[in-house]
């Protein structure tokens, strides 16, 4: 008891605390120097790795959403009217179901296609952003060019599908069908998708020309 009391007396405790402070400051300085060095050395690689992890997270989320949309569409087509009010994230589509099963199928098909296309975009991104596959020594490769082209096509496709879905929903509302808001149906932002698709398409064309020039330069003897 006496030993314990002497160990935890004020002077000893102060010394131990000081040791901990010094140790933590040392660790902090060490990490700061080395992390700074690492970040300065390979900032692009670090950013790419972070983007890769983020893409994986988004891909999983979008896949769950796509799977949920498809499953609930087919499930409610099979089960029937009273369950259609719990369509995917609580959207009430019972009114649409009562209006017509064909319309219900068409609208849910559009939602499902848009979700699957979003999942496809992120699949392409994680497939090509793989740190083992992508080479930063030669980033202007045909694969990256093809990736940008594919993403632009998919974005345009999502844009058109969403636009179609929105117009279809508006028409259904005009017919007196009670429909949830567009953003709950995951069909919002059609114009943004179209804008992104067009911008990416232009960038892909420029990228393609850049790759052609690089290939020509490499094959000049």
């Amino acid at each position: 008891m006496l030993q314990a009391a002497s160990f935890w007396d004020v002077d000893n405790f102060y010394q131990i605390r000081m040791y901990f402070y010094c140790l933590s400051i040392n660790i902090y300085l060490y990490l700061l120097c080395h992390l700074k060095h690492l970040i300065m050395k390979s900032r692009t690689n670090l950013v790419l790795k972070i983007l890769y992890i983020l893409s994986w997270i988004i891909f999983v989320g979008v896949c769950i959403e796509a799977g949920g949309s498809i499953f609930s569409a087919f499930y409610f087509l099979y089960v029937g009217d009273k369950h259609a009010r719990t369509f995917w994230v609580g959207n009430d589509l019972s009114s649409l179901y009562t209006y017509g099963r064909v319309h219900f199928f068409a609208e849910t098909l559009l939602i499902s296609i848009a979700s699957v296309m979003k999942a496809c975009i992120f699949y392409l991104i994680i497939k090509n952003l793989d740190p083992k596959k992508i080479s930063m020594s030669q980033p202007f490769s045909k694969e990256v060019g093809r990736l940008i082209f594919n993403i632009s096509y998919l974005s345009l496709f999502i844009g058109f599908i969403s636009l179609w879905g929105v117009k279809y929903k508006e028409w259904l509302v005009e017919q007196g069908v009670k429909m949830p808001e567009i953003q709950y149906l995951r069909l919002g932002g059609a114009d943004v998708w179209l804008f992104m698709g067009v911008i990416l398409f232009v960038l892909a064309q420029i990228f393609k020309r850049g790759i052609e020039i690089q290939t020509e330069n490499e094959l000049t003897v």
């Binding site: 290939t215 020509e216 094959l219 000049t220 003897v221």
Partner: protein, 67 residues
């Protein structure tokens, strides 16, 4: 491509190997094989000049236009 590179023919005539030519012309083996196999998209005048000088020939002996 309608332009054919007859570098291998000229090398055979002069009995010169690709290694020897690359040393004399000061081009890498990879670049010379690109030229030899007809994969090249363009040839610099300086390269053509060096090859002609070493092989003692005219540019027309190395390059040929075929429809």
């Amino acid at each position: 491509m309608p332009i054919i590179v007859n570098l291998d023919v000229m090398m055979a005539k002069r009995k010169m190997s690709l290694n020897e030519l690359s040393e004399k012309v000061d081009l890498t083996l990879a670049n010379l094989s690109i030229l030899k196999t007809g994969k090249a998209k363009a040839v610099r005048f300086s390269t053509l000049e060096a090859i002609c000088k070493v092989l003692n020939c005219q540019p027309g002996d190395i390059l040929e236009f075929v429809e």
